[in-house]
Amino acid sequence: MRYLPLTPEDRAEMLTIIGAPSIDALFADVPPEAHLGGPVDLPPHQGELEVERALGRLAARNRPAGAGPFFCGAGAYRHHVPASVDHIIQRSEFLTSYTPYQPEIAQGTLQALFEFQTQVAALTGLPVANASLYDGSTACAEAVMMAARVTKRSKAVLSGGLHPHYAEAAWTLAHTAGVATQRLPAAIDAEAAVLDAIDADTACVVVQTPNVFGTVTDVSLIAEAAHAAGALVVVVTTEAVSYGLLKSPGEMGADIAVAEGQSIGNPLTFGGPYVGLFACREALTRQMPGRLCGETVDAEGKRGFVLTLSTREQHIRREKATSNICTNSGLCALAFTVHMTLLGEAGLTQLAKLSHARARLLREALAAVPGAEVLTSRFFNEFAVRLPKPAATVVNALAADGIIAGVPVSRLDPAAGMDDLLIVCATETTSHADIAEFAEALTEELAQ
C-alpha cells in the first residue's frame, strides 16, 4: 500500500531483531476474544484515481457557493482567498509540523503565531491575543467561562443579537460548570437590552456587533454600565472583515473580544475548520484559555519565539487548567495571518468598504422588491429582510432556480418566531449581476 514503506523483508528482519515470532505476538496483551480474525467489513484499499473519482462524485452533489448568486452569511462568509495564501499553508514545513514545542526547530510556526497575535490584538484593539481557539463559537464559550473565573460570579447575560449557535455552545459549556446563561429575546437591534439584565451576580454581558441580524452597535455605553456593575464585557464578532471599517471592541470598552476569523484567509468548507480569535485586557492574561506565543532570546542572544505561560494549560495544570484545549487552529491562524499581511491596513479597509458597498447595493435592490422589507438599519455587510411568506420556503424555491438567497432565521432559531425573516449578506465576491438576478427572482417568487 502506497503509504506504507515497510517491505515484507523489512518486517521479517525487524521481527527477528525484536525477537518476536510474528506480528500477532506483539498484540499478545489484547484479550483473545477481542482479536479480530480478519479485516473489518469495509471496502479494501483503492488507488488514488479510484478514490479521487469517488470523492469527486460526492463533491459534484453539492452546489458550491461560487456556482451562482449566493447571499449566505450569519457566521460564515464567502471572501476571496488569494492563491498565495493557500500556497503558503501547503508548504510541507507548515502543513506537516506539530505544535511548536521544540522552539529551536519551530521558529517558522512561532514567528507566524507572534505575528498572528499582534494582528489580532491590533484588530480587536486589545493588548493581548492568544494563538487561536477552535472557532468563534467555542471562543465565545471560553470567554464566558473566563469571565466567571475572573469575577467569581455565575451568570452570563447573552444578547438577543448573539448568533444562536454561539448562545447554545456557550450554554452547553457554562451550565455544566454551574454558570447560568440568561439569553435575551432575539431582536434586530438587541444589544442595548443587556443592560436591564445585569445584576450583582452577572459575570459578563455578551454582545455581538455586527450581530446575527447584521446590526452594528457602539457598545461603549453598555460597557460603561456593565463595568459599573462589576461585570465584564465580551464583544463577539463573526465577520472579522468588519474590523476594517468599524470601531474596535477595545475602543468601545470590551474586556474580552472574541471573533470568528474564517473570513480572512479561510474558505467556507461547510463550517469548519475555522479559527477562533481571542483577545483581552492585559490584567486578564493569566486567565486566558489556549496557547500564547512570546518573544525571548536564544543562548547567543538572538531574538526568538516560544510558547509561554503554559502554566495556564492542561498539560501543566491538568484539572486546574483555564481550559482543556490542546490542538487549536494553527494552520487556519497561519492562513489568517498570511492573508492579513497581503491585505495590510489599506487592503483590509478597502475590502471592508467594498463589502459594505455591495451590501448597500443589495439593500437598495431588495428594498425595491414588492413585499420585502429591510429591517436592519445599521449594518456592515448583512441585514435582515422581512418577507410575506416563510423565509425557508422562499430560500428553497430560489435554490431550485440556482440562487442561494441567504439564511432563514428559522433555521438558526425556530423559537424566535421570526419565520418570515431572511438574513442576507454581500461581500466583494457578490457581483452586480448576482444582486440583479436575486432581486428579480425574489420579485417573481413573492408575486406568486
Partner: protein, 511 residues
C-alpha cells in the same frame, strides 16, 4: 542566460578551510517580523473601488488607524517561505513525538479537501444543495462506527480534547436522564493532561487511579475507588505508556457494575485500528483524533477533529447536529428535537470540521479495511523495533513484553552523566531529527516517549536509532557540552523560556 560563458569549467582553488567570519547564512535567511518590514501603506491585493460610501455608519466607524502593515505579494510570499524553512516537519525527517502520531499526510487528502464542492460550501445553504457533503459525513460515520464497533458517533467535536468533553457531557446527560447525579471521574495518573482538565470542565471531581509497576491501571485501586458517586472511568487504551491495558475487559466490567460509564481516550487508536474494536472492549465513549490515526495534518498545532463514537446507551444524548437520511435524501437535525430530543446541547457552531472529514475519509478509502489493519501492525512493529534497538543503551520504562505504537524510556540510563532528557532532546535536533516526547507521561521519570508511526521506513528508523545510540555513547563518555549547548545546528540555539515567562512579550510593539 548562462554562467561561465568563459567556457572553462571551474575547480576549487584552495583546500576547504573553516568558514571565516561570514555575515550571511547561505540559504537560511534571518527574517524580521512583518511589522519591521515597514510596509505601512502597502497592500498585496488589488480591489475595485467601492460603489457606495460608508456614510450610513457615521459614528460607528473607526477613526484611529489599526496599525497593521501590509506587503506586496512577492514580499509576503518570500517572508513566509523563509519562515517555513525554520521548521522541522514530517516531510523532512522522522518526527517521533510520542502520543502525537506524526504520520505521513497524503497530498491526495489536501487535493480532495480543496474541491469547490467541499471547500466552497456554506454551512447554512439549503440541505438540498449540500447532499454530497451530508453523504460524506454519513459515510465517514459509517467507517468510524465499523472500525470502532460502536453504534453511533458524534462528529462535531473539533479536536481530541473537545471530543473528550463531548463524551463526558454525553455521559452526564445519560446519568441525569436516569436521575442519577454523579460527581466524580476516575483518571489514571498516566493520563494526558486534557483528561483531567476535561473532567473538571465537565463539572466533575477528578480522582486519580494508581498505576501498576507494569504501567497499567491498578485494578484493585480502581475497584476501591469505584462507587455510586463515580460517573465515568476515563482510560487511555493503548495507554500513554504505549501499553495495551491487558485488563481492559475487567475495567469495563467493574465500571459498568458500578453504574458508571467507560470513557476511552482514543488518541492512540492508531495502534489497534482494524485489529481491535473498542466496542468489543466495553467502551461507552471514545474520541478519535482524525489528525492522528487518520492522517489529517497537524498544521503546526491544528486544526484537528475529534469525533466521538458512542455506545447504544449514550447515543440518544449526542449533541446536535445529526445527519439523518430517508428516501428523500439526507437531512440535518440541528436542534434538540426529533431524533435529537435528548441531545445534551451543541459543541460549536455549524457541523464540525468538514475539511478534516474529507481528508480522513480520503485516507480511509485509500487504505481500506486491509490497509488500515496493516497500519496498526506496522505502527506496532516499528515501535517495538525501536524499543529493541535502543534497549541495550537506554532504559525502557517497561522492559517486559511488547509495547504497542510507542516505546517509552526513562532517564535511568543518564544517571550520573549530568545529561538530562531535555538535553538529549536538544542534541537530537543537531542530528537532524525532531525529538521524542519528553517528560510525559508523568509517571515515568525523565520520560522519553518515541512513536515512529507506520509511515517511517526502516532506513529512517535505523538512522534515528543510530543517532540516539551515538548520543548515548557520548553522554556516557562525558561529552556534556554536546548536550548542554545543543542545539548547535538549528536555526536558533537553545531558547530562554524562563525569560519569556518572567516578563511576557506577547505581541510586537513599536520601538
Amino acid at each position: 542566460m548562462t554562467m561561465l560563458a568563459v567556457g572553462r569549467p571551474t575547480q576549487p582553488e584552495i583546500e576547504a578551510g573553516a568558514a571565516p567570519d561570514v555575515e550571511g547564512h547561505g540559504l537560511v535567511q534571518d527574517e524580521l517580523l512583518i511589522f519591521e518590514l515597514g510596509g505601512w501603506a502597502k497592500t498585496g491585493v488589488d480591489l475595485p473601488e467601492p460603489e457606495r460610501d460608508a456614510s450610513d455608519l457615521a459614528g460607528l466607524t473607526r477613526e484611529a488607524p489599526i496599525g497593521l502593515p501590509g506587503l506586496s505579494e512577492p514580499e509576503t510570499l518570500r517572508h513566509y517561505v523563509r519562515l517555513s524553512q525554520k521548521n522541522h516537519a514530517i516531510d523532512l525527517a522522522m518526527y517521533p513525538l510520542g502520543s502525537c502520531t506524526m504520520k505521513h499526510n497524503p497530498r491526495l487528502n489536501e487535493k480532495m479537501a480543496r474541491l469547490p464542492g467541499f471547500a466552497d460550501l456554506h454551512p447554512l445553504q439549503p440541505v438540498s444543495t449540500v447532499q454530497g457533503a451530508l453523504a460524506l459525513m454519513d459515510e465517514l460515520a459509517h467507517w468510524l462506527k465499523t472500525l470502532s464497533g460502536m453504534p453511533a458517533v458524534a462528529l462535531s467535536p473539533k479536536a481530541g480534547a473537545h471530543g473528550e468533553l463531548c463524551g463526558l457531557l454525553t455521559i452526564r446527560a445519560a446519568l441525569e436522564a436516569r436521575g442519577d447525579a454523579r460527581r466524580t471521574v476516575l483518571v489514571p495518573v498516566s493520563a494526558h493532561g486534557t483528561n483531567p482538565a476535561t473532567a473538571a470542565i465537565a463539572g466533575y471531581q477528578v480522582v486519580e487511579i494508581a498505576q501498576t509497576d507494569d504501567g497499567r491501571v491498578d485494578i484493585a485501586d480502581l475497584a476501591a475507588k469505584l462507587g455510586p458517586g463515580v460517573a465515568a472511568v476515563m482510560v487511555t487504551n493503548p495507554n500513554t505508556c504505549g501499553l495495551f491495558e491487558r485488563e481492559v475487559l475487567e475495567i469495563s466490567r467493574l465500571t459498568h457494575a458500578a453504574g458508571a460509564f467507560f470513557y476511552c481516550d482514543g488518541a492512540n487508536f492508531n495502534a489497534i485500528v482494524g485489529r481491535v474494536r473498542p466496542g468489543d472492549l466495553g467502551v461507552d465513549a471514545m474520541h478519535i483524533n482524525l489528525h492522528k490515526t487518520f492522517s489529517t495534518p497537524h498544521g503546526g498545532g491544528g486544526p484537528g477533529a475529534g469525533p466521538v463514537v458512542l455506545s447504544a446507551a449514550l447515543a440518544p444524548f449526542a449533541p446536535a447536529p445529526w445527519v439523518v437520511s430517508d428516501g428523500a435524501g439526507f437531512h440535518l437535525v440541528e436542534r434538540n428535537e426529533g431524533e435529537a430530543a435528548a441531545a445534551f446541547g451543541r459543541m460549536c457552531a455549524f457541523h464540525g470540521q468538514m475539511g478534516m472529514y474529507v481528508r480522513a475519509l480520503t485516507y480511509m478509502m485509500s487504505h481500506g479495511s486491509d490497509g488500515l489493519r496493516q497500519v496498526a501492525e506496522d505502527a506496532v512493529l516499528n515501535a517495538n523495533y525501536v524499543k529493541a534497538r535502543l534497549s541495550g543503551e537506554l532504559t525502557p520504562a517497561f522492559p517486559d513484553g511488547p509495547c504497542m505504537h510507542e516505546a517509552l524510556f526513562d532517564d535511568a540510563w543518564l544517571e550520573g552523566t549530568g545529561v538530562t532528557t531535555l538535553d538529549v532532546a536538544k542534541a537530537l535536533i543537531d542530528e537532524g531529527f525532531h525529538p521524542m516526547t519528553m517528560y510525559f507521561p508523568l509517571v515515568v521519570h525523565g520520560a522519553m516517549l518515541i512513536e515512529p508511526t507506520e509511515t517511517e521506513p526502516k532506513r529512517e528508523i535505523d538512522r534515528f536509532c543510530d543517532a540516539v545510540l551515538r548520543l548515548a555513547a557520548a553522554a556516557k563518555a562525558g561529552d556534556v557540552a554536546r548536550f548542554k549547548g545543543a542545539p548547535y545546528k538549528a536555526p536558533l540555539r537553545r531558547l530562554d523560556e524562563t525569560a519569556a515567562a518572567r516578563k511576557p512579550r506577547l505581541r510586537w510593539t513599536p520601538g
